[in-house]
Symmetry: C2
């Protein structure tokens, strides 16, 4: 075995990456040092640059280099709709559909009590303040004077994503906000025979 | 989508890692920036430190922070045996067996003509000079005055690894060196029913 603490340290560091275990981390370290040292330095510089320059959008929480991200700053977007997603990657998936012209709010993850992730950890208060702001006297603005008229819940259709959507939906409805959820149903291009029963049941219930 | 060149640059940089495609790279970048910025900086520092301090052992080519690695510098190792492996990871696997007390020579990969990897790219000349040195007059040393008496080929049992072993074996035999290859056979603990035919055929041929 190579007798180096530097290599051991690099292997340990790579294990910080999601989905990378001991063997993958060692392979990555060996590969870069044996075959791609310029690539190793490129990754180091990109990490430094990203950590230094990327922050969260003041309005929607997504990752950006500006105070306010391009989506929130775009005057062409429909400011009456606010779509709640778990991560910037989910936001990117929705953007690629070209089917949505409203704004977003990016949670910092999803509620996960077992992992100790509560409402404060995923910025729910920021979302509530954004969707249903208060006036100078601390009272909730009435519906007609709010910018956001509809909140679309687009958290993932996992147990934790559904729970997160439920909590947000209840809180916003109690503040008088119209709340919708992405439709559940049969994926485009799929054959019923291979679709799971829960999905088919939902598609039946929500038929149109 | 997050509107940042820094994030795009980081995602591109992660694709330099072996086995990491566009989706994994994006997930890694998002994860570090959202949940583990100290981890991101730790990876950057580990990369810088490793690139700066790790080089190849002057004798065996493995990765080390010294001029000569601990294995080559160890006076207890049997200097008459030289085991040729493709990578430091393969060397580590052999060391873990505790079954070998000789020295190593670590190639910089394997011969792979289709990828443009020829004998010079994997340090074969360095291996030949090490195993069968020349005297001051440029003549090959006779067998009795050589340090290395046996070269054990432990490249992988893949098509490219076998080809590499063949090329090295031919060259060293023509210089009068004793060359052996790791035994092929049935893995310890396996049932014949599930072992592939090529392996069983080799195990029959090499029976002892």
């Amino acid at each position: 075995m190579a007798d180096t603490n530097a290599l051991e340290g690099l292997t340990q560091a790579f294990r910080k990456l999601p989905g990378v275990g001991a063997k993958s981390a060692a392979r990555m370290a060996f590969h870069l040092l044996q075959h791609d040292r310029p690539g190793a330095l490129q990754i180091a510089r990109a990490l430094d640059h990203a950590v230094e320059s990327i922050r969260h959008c003041a309005l929607c929480n997504t990752l950006t280099e500006q105070e306010v991200c391009v989506t929130c700053a775009n005057p062409q977007r429909d400011r009456s709709k606010l779509c709640v997603v778990e991560t910037p990657a989910d936001q990117a998936a929705l953007e690629r559909t070209l089917a949505y012209r409203g704004l977003y709010f990016v949670l910092m993850g999803k509620l996960s009590p077992l992992d100790g992730v509560g409402p404060n950890d995923i910025g729910l208060q920021k979302l509530f303040d954004r969707a249903v702001p208060r006036n100078a006297q601390g009272q909730l603005l009435p519906a007609e004077s709010r910018e956001v008229q509809e909140v679309i819940l687009a958290t993932n259709f996992t147990a934790e994503g559904e729970a997160t959507a439920h909590v947000i939906g209840q809180a916003l409805k109690s503040r008088g906000m119209q709340v919708t959820r992405l439709a559940r149903g049969v994926p485009v291009g799929s054959e019923l025979e291979y679709v799971d029963l829960g999905t088919i049941a939902h598609a039946l219930t929500d038929r149109r």
